[in-house]
């Protein structure tokens, strides 16, 4: 494609030269495939008891990661948990991005008192201790998946709003925007179809980092036992295994490692995207 060919090729080249980012992207892909094909690999309900309780990893070849206190297959629970964990992370990040871009774009484009109010609101949401806010929302509105996703989105939008606002501030007086204005285009159309596409790349990078943060939030909420009772996410598996750390600490360790690897890879990908988009900052 001649129109995008060169810069896009350069972007891919820069991204793939970053070894960490490449490894991260591959591992994320594997986790995502695991999530998608969970029921193909493990058709049996992961919460069904299939073996002896507390089998250590490697003790029985049928259960490579062992079984938990009730005799459920840990590998199967991890693979099925990937779906819940990734979906919650993605949707929470989407909620945060929609709120953040909306607030940031309005603030940056209009400036003045609109900007003042929006930035005060961002400061307010940064002041309330984030996890306490999430727990309060979840406990008052109820522990459903939707409420958890919305609650995490509500505490995660402020960095995205600040980033979007900064991009809009630097773009709103460029010639192409002034040209649109002189043509009589409405503010809404200028924001959505002219400035936003130009402002989006750094915002998308930030959103990928928010996914990582959202996964950590969700795991903390589930760990505390306030997650959706119908969903076995990785955080809940850590919480479930907590009682047995004296005898079988692997029940706790394995889901935690899964969370850590996923978050680590998302961070690596985010850093790689950032470097590829801002080559000037790469060597810092």
């Amino acid at each position: 494609m001649p129109r995008f060919g060169f810069p896009r090729f350069e972007f891919v080249g820069r991204f793939s030269r970053n070894r960490g980012a490449l490894i991260g992207a591959c591992l994320i892909l594997i986790v995502a495939l695991m999530a998608v094909f969970a029921s193909v690999f493990f058709p049996i309900d992961p919460l069904r008891i299939v073996g002896l309780p507390e089998l250590w990893p490697g003790e029985d070849p049928e259960f490579p990661l062992g079984t938990d206190s009730l005799g459920r297959d840990i590998l199967s629970m991890i693979v099925h948990g990937a779906r819940a964990t990734l979906l919650i992370g993605l949707f929470a990040s989407a909620v945060a991005t929609v709120i953040g871009v909306g607030v940031g774009a309005t603030a940056g484009y209009f400036g003045g008192w609109v900007d003042e109010i929006a930035m005060r609101a961002a400061e307010l949401f940064q002041t309330i201790p984030n996890l306490i806010f999430v727990l309060t929302i979840v406990v008052i509105m109820g522990s459903t998946l939707t409420n958890i996703v919305i609650a995490i989105g509500i505490v995660s939008w402020t960095p995205i709003a600040r980033m979007t606002r900064a991009e809009f501030l630097s773009l709103r007086d460029r010639e192409f925007v002034q040209a649109c204005r002189s043509m009589g285009m409405s503010d809404f159309r200028i924001i959505v179809s002219e400035i936003l596409p130009n402002a989006l790349p750094p915002v998308i990078v930030l959103s990928s980092l928010v996914v990582a943060g959202a996964i950590l939030f969700e795991s903390a909420v589930s760990f505390l036992g306030l997650g959706d009772p119908n969903v076995a996410s990785w955080g809940r598996l850590v919480g479930d295994g907590r009682q047995l750390i004296r005898s079988s600490w692997y029940i706790c360790a394995i889901p935690g490692i899964a969370i850590m690897i996923t978050v680590l890879c998302l961070n690596l990908v985010g850093d790689g995207l950032n470097d590829a988009l801002n080559p000037k900052l790469r060597d810092r």
């Binding site: 307010l124 002041t127 201790p129 008052i140 903390a220 760990f223 505390l224 036992g225 907590r242 706790c252």
Partner: protein, 345 residues
Amino acid sequence: MAGELVSPTPTPTLRGSARRAAALRLLRRRLIQAVPLMLGVVIINFCLIQMAPGSFLELMTAENQVSDPATVALLRKTYGLEDPVWMQLLKYIWALLHFDFGFSYRQNMPVIQAIWIHLPATILLMVSSITLAVSVGVAAGVVASMKVRTFWDSLVSVAAMFFYAAPSFWLGIMMIVLFSVKLGWLPVGGMMKIGGASGGPLAGVLDILRHLILPTLALGLFYAAIYTRVMRSSMLEVAQLDFVRTARAKGLSRNQVTIHHVLRNALLPVVTILGVQMGTVLAGSVVIESVFSWPGVGSLLFDSVSSRNYPVVLGIMVLGSLVVIAANIAVDLIYMWLDPRIEIR
């Protein structure tokens, strides 16, 4: 001092009484700005109550833990449940202004008192974690930047990536497994030995410190990872500035330049981020406290969330925000002390 000559200070540095006056001005401005913030927190709280399924009264009486009709009537009158919504909001604000957060029947004391007795443990954990995070993060960042692109730099980066991605509660549990269960060096949880330590107040302090180590590590290492990364890149950036070259040119050794000139200026971004993260540190202690049964606000919150003790939950949200605002003001004052050029808006 030689360092003063080349410090990047375009305007004369404020000294003595002038600086104190500037600090007081900053303090006053910050306190005034805190008022609308607190109001915002209270309004969000009120919205949550209004949006909740079930009536306001059910929430404040925490699902039938109050059955005494006289108390219910009193609450009804206090919160003005027959009034329009805006009037209810005003009454709610009025009650909070008198530190009336309601009554917790679970602890059998006013909510404010229940939170108050749990606050010192949390603040102790917060302060020790932040101290650990800043000192480890700054030290590791300085080492990495001085040995940039060597084995040590990579080692620091890998460690920072690890601690940045590990969930703090999981790290805490793994440390309990290693240091308490397997090695038996440190206590599994709690804040002091049951029945108290024998041998005077000093032994008591040492006992608390022993209990403090693991929670501090679990909470602080995540932030240490962030500060390491920030400190490293900020050291590398400052090291390229002109005044550093001047200092080198006048014959100071590399270590002298790093410590007296680069370090102090490179600290500023760390302090900025520290201010932004006060809220998350307080929130992070909620999870850590539940892992280590640390008797602070986090444990109280967890207990109240599990028993749907709404007045306590909402009270913690308001008071938690207040602690964050106070901590932010403290950070601003530190910032001003570090960089006298800056008149913080």
